[in-house]
């Protein structure tokens, strides 16, 4: 049995002669019997590398050998042993689950004799058995990914390539996908799992870390993590404002990186530096520094030379909002029915001025529906949504002029230049003349957009897209900011920069409503509302939700564990009633 399933030698690939290489001089080996994580921010070259592995692209120079087969000369034999699940698996949305399976079985020449068994095994394995007749288009994100996986597995592959299988998938489904893939791995199969999320990378036995087409690290993740051992701390027992503590901490020379984790602040010290004095951080009398176990993400940021600073130029330039309202966002019995189906039922919450409220929930639970009703994109069947005291249905224009909105896909006009986008959005929000010019110039300065002003928005590097999108949504200095999975697929550095701005804005009185699948982001929230089966099943600060689910088996649950066990508790209590 070979102990190398895939050998990459001096691999370079470029999409065009004048373009910088998407991958340069990559050499690595991938072993069978384990899950190898392919990690890196969007645009790092993960998908390119996967397509090279499947021989859909051929290397500009260098070699790629899969189980002894060269991608250049043995492409067709290679396809026999590869299972590939692209980012958006080619499911036919108008076909049912079983029809999709049949189609892929036909394409893979799986004949009638054994296909019944194969289908039964796969349906059982993915838990899709009860949904065979359902159209693929009607499945939730997590279920679609499972079906995609099932289709890729119709013939048991020796090399399974999964391209960002967890994007847009809730934590419950993500865990199930992970478990399934773990079950698949045996001596003869190699699995490659690509992801932009470092907590997933940590679970892999081996990791290839890509950045900007270069291989930054390859090997077991703990080898990288060890580099920051002894430098990770949590500031616990903060009685003052934890966002300000973080901001102050990041301004200290000793601190290289930091994030908010519930009520605590996590930070990583620079190598060879001592702990900063707690008194400087102004964290309160009971604050203490507790060493914590290093994470892969800490090491990643360390490898890149540290995170961004703690001061948001955006917040500094903004005039603080008047402190005239206690509650700025209010949902009052929001209900939305689509025909017989109730997507959201009697959802109520109130968000105080200057608070970050997170909406969490599995795919299809009603999270997006609730979010859309709150920003006026959906009309509720009953109940009201209010922003700064204005009813979204009765005074939509007025209410909307006080809110900012940023969606997952950075809804920018791709064909317009960065500056034209700024001018357009400021115009839509009613800025004119000098005021408009000044605002646009200020945004360009704050976000450092100068070098890309005339580039079309679609050609901007991801980090700049994120900045531009944020700039466009806050130019009119909104009192309330709605963020829909704002950092999905974004690298950790850009994510930190983004949250520095959000934290800064919140300190100036902006209220934030955010939906997210990622627990990192959820930790920044002051309070979280958990939506499940169309209802708000729990609300509270992240730490409180964690402590609510504390048990002898889970003495110190993570937010993700808390999330899952709250859903299970709810299911259990409702089964009893039924």
């Amino acid at each position: 049995m070979p102990n190398e399933s895939l050998v990459i030698e001096g691999l370079t690939y470029s999409y065009g002669k004048d373009l910088p290489p998407a991958l340069s001089e990559l050499s690595a080996t991938i072993r069978p019997g384990i899950v190898t994580g392919l990690v890196g921010p969007d645009g790092a070259g993960k998908t390119t590398l996967m397509r090279l592995m499947t021989a859909l692209l051929l290397p500009s120079s260098g070699h790629l050998t899969v189980f002894g087969l060269d991608t250049r000369s043995n492409a067709s034999q290679l396809h026999e042993i590869i299972g590939y699940m692209p980012q958006k698996f080619g499911l036919y949305e108008d076909l049912s689950v079983i029809q999709n399976l049949r189609l892929y079985a036909d394409l893979r020449n799986v004949t009638t004799v054994d296909r019944k068994q194969v289908f039964a095994r796969l349906l059982d394995f993915t838990g899709l058995e009860p949904f065979q007749k359902r159209l693929a288009g009607r499945l939730s994100g997590g279920m679609k990914q499972k079906l995609g996986l099932a289709c890729a597995l119709i013939r048991k592959p020796r090399l399974l390539l999964l391209d960002e299988p967890s994007v847009g998938v809730d934590p419950v489904s993500r865990r199930e996908l992970w478990r399934m893939v773990q079950e698949l791995v045996d001596e003869e199969t190699a699995v490659i799992w690509s992801t932009a999320y470092l907590d997933e990378a940590e679970l892999c036995q081996d990791v290839l870390l890509l950045d900007n087409g270069q291989l930054m690290f390859s090997g077991p993740p703990k080898d990288l993590t060890e580099r920051v051992a002894g430098r990770c701390f949590q500031i616990q027992g903060i009685s003052n404002n934890r966002r300000q503590v973080l901001s102050t901490a990041l301004q200290q020379d000793e601190v290289q990186d930091g994030i908010v984790q519930g009520q605590n602040v996590r930070m990583v010290l620079r190598a060879g530096h001592n702990q900063p004095a707690l008194s400087v951080l102004d964290a309160g009398v009971e604050a203490r520094l507790t060493p914590v176990a290093p994470r892969f993400e800490d090491a990643y940021i360390d490898a890149l030379g540290g995170g961004p600073g703690g001061i948001s130029a955006l917040a500094t330039a903004m005039t603080p909002l008047p402190d005239d309202q206690e509650v700025t966002v209010e949902a009052d019995g929001l209900t939305k029915r689509f025909g017989n189906f109730t997507a959201a039922e009697n959802v109520s919450f109130a968000i105080r001025r200057g608070e970050i409220f997170g909406l969490l929930g599995p795919n299809g639970a009603g999270k997006s529906t609730t979010f859309k009703m709150m920003c006026g994109l959906l009309r509720p069947s009953s109940g009201t949504g209010r922003v700064v005291g204005l009813d979204l249905q009765k005074a939509p224009g007025k209410a909307r002029s006080r809110l900012g909105y940023m969606a997952q896909k950075f809804s920018l006009y791709g064909d317009l230049s960065a500056r034209q986008n700024l001018v357009f959005f400021s115009g839509v929000y009613g800025l004119t003349g000098m005021q408009q010019k000044e605002t646009v110039t200020r945004m360009i300065d704050i976000f450092g957009l100068q070098p890309h002003l005339t580039d079309s928005a679609k050609d901007l590097p991801l980090g700049f897209k994120q900045r531009l999108a944020l700039a466009c949504s806050v130019m009119h200095e909104p009192a309330v900011l709605f963020l829909d999975e704002p950092t999905s697929g974004v690298d950790p550095l850009t994510r930190r920069e983004f949250w520095t701005h959000i934290n800064g804005l919140v300190e100036h009185g902006v209220t934030v409503l955010v939906t997210t699948h990622f627990m990192d982001e959820a930790e920044y929230c002051d309070r979280i509302g958990l939506i499940y089966r169309g209802q708000m099943i729990a609300t509270g600060p992240p730490d409180e939700l964690k402590s609510r689910t504390r048990s002898p088996q889970m003495p110190d649950p993570t937010l993700e564990e808390a999330f899952i066990s709250l859903l299970q508790q709810w299911d259990a209590s409702h089964e009893e009633k039924a």
């Binding site: 994109l377 009309r379 909307r400 809110l403 791709g414 064909d415 230049s417 959005f425 839509v428 929000y429």
Partner: protein
């Protein structure tokens, strides 16, 4: 409000014009269509082959034969010897028609008796055959006139003259129709795709959460399309008059005023399609579902008067029908404002209806 709409219009125009591909889509296909239609899709009959079976050797028969073979329509001539050869010539499409002059033609003429000749046409080419038949009748008439001039039996003198297009140059007919059809295509596609594109890119939601009123968004979509389609319309008129040498006899202000009303009606349809479609693909299909029947019912290819009665009734709802009449009228006849107005007010009503339905649907789909 005006500032917001202005921002929308500028954005829409930039989105259309900054991208090289969409700029090409806007300019190249209409130009190609313009040239293809005005050169290839002609209904004129030229360069046809005529077969002649002349069994009579008298001078009058030779004269008639010469009149035919000298006609501009017939560039090739096949001479036949026996009537048995006729079926083959027609069946194998060697000639569009056969002129058959019987043995006793000259003799009958001299005796002052009726002197029939046969003209056999290939009925499979319905259109061309009809036109060739028309030419043949004219040649025979001319021939009769010449005979009458010589004092031999006077016939009825028919002089056909085609007003407004004396040489029956087909391009004179095609180009005005193209002004009409190409502006329709542009108005329809630009509006039809614009909302769908924003839906696909996710920018539409960004617009919907802004303080923009749905009506403002609608106006912001309609005006740029109007502008672009008007400019392209003007371009086609310019090319037609300067390059293709089609005369323009009427009033430009009248043409563009009626074009504006017409385009509003079309844009209403485009926005309607747009608010129904989730993807650009659906929008294109939807636009063509309107475009093809509307073109056929406009009287472009075949006269509306020849259609069944119920179709004629339906065609009253078709804005192309009115605009086609206006454009042809203005181009070739210099029709007065009253005539233009008679065709414009129905389009104004149609515009009101399509725009209202589009607005209603647009608002409804947002919920």
């Amino acid at each position: 409000m005006f500032n917001r709409i202005r921002a929308l219009i500028i954005k829409e125009l930039l989105a259309l014009l900054r991208d090289k591909k969409s700029r090409m889509v806007l300019i190249v296909p209409p130009l190609i269509q313009l040239f293809i239609f005005s050169f290839a899709a002609t209904q004129e009959v030229k360069n046809q082959t005529l077969a002649v079976l002349n069994l009579d050797h008298g001078q009058p028969a030779l004269n008639l034969e010469q009149d035919f073979t000298a006609a501009r329509t017939f560039s090739g001539v096949i001479r036949l010897q026996r009537p048995e050869e006729i079926p083959a010539v027609i069946n194998e499409q060697q000639a569009i028609a056969v002129l058959w002059i019987p043995q006793d033609f000259s003799r009958n003429l001299e005796r002052g008796q009726a002197a029939p000749v046969s003209f056999i046409l290939d009925g499979r080419k319905t259109n061309a055959a009809q036109i060739v038949q028309g030419y043949a009748v004219r040649i025979i008439n001319n021939y009769r006139d010449k005979l009458a001039g010589k004092g031999q039996q006077s016939g009825i003198n028919i002089v056909a003259r085609n007003w407004f297009n004396p040489n029956l140059d087909f391009r004179w007919y095609t180009l005005p129709s193209l002004v009409c059809i190409l502006t329709t295509v542009i108005g329809l596609i630009v509006t039809g795709l614009s909302v769908a594109r924003e839906r696909e890119m996710g920018t539409f939601e960004q617009l919907l959460v802004s303080p923009l009123h749905p009506l403002e968004i609608l106006v912001g979509k309609a005006l740029p399309a109007l502008l672009v389609a008007m400019i392209e319309g003007a371009l086609i008129v310019l090319i037609g008059v300067s390059l293709l040498q089609v005369p323009f006899n009427g009033s430009l202000p009248l043409l563009f005023a009626s074009m504006g009303v017409f385009l509003l009606a079309i844009i209403g349809v485009g926005l309607f399609v747009s608010s129904l479609s989730m993807t650009q693909q659906q929008a294109v299909l939807g636009a063509f579902m309107f475009l093809v029947p509307a073109t056929i019912l406009s009287g472009f290819a075949s006269p509306i008067e020849n259609m069944p009665h119920w179709l004629q009734t339906i065609s009253y709802a078709n804005p192309l029908r009115y605009f086609m009449t206006i454009v042809r009228g203005i181009f070739l006849k210099d029709v007065p404002a009253t005539v233009v107005w008679a065709q414009t007010w129905p389009m104004a009503i149609i515009a009101c209806v399509t725009l209202s339905i589009a607005t209603w649907l647009f608002k409804k789909r947002m919920e």
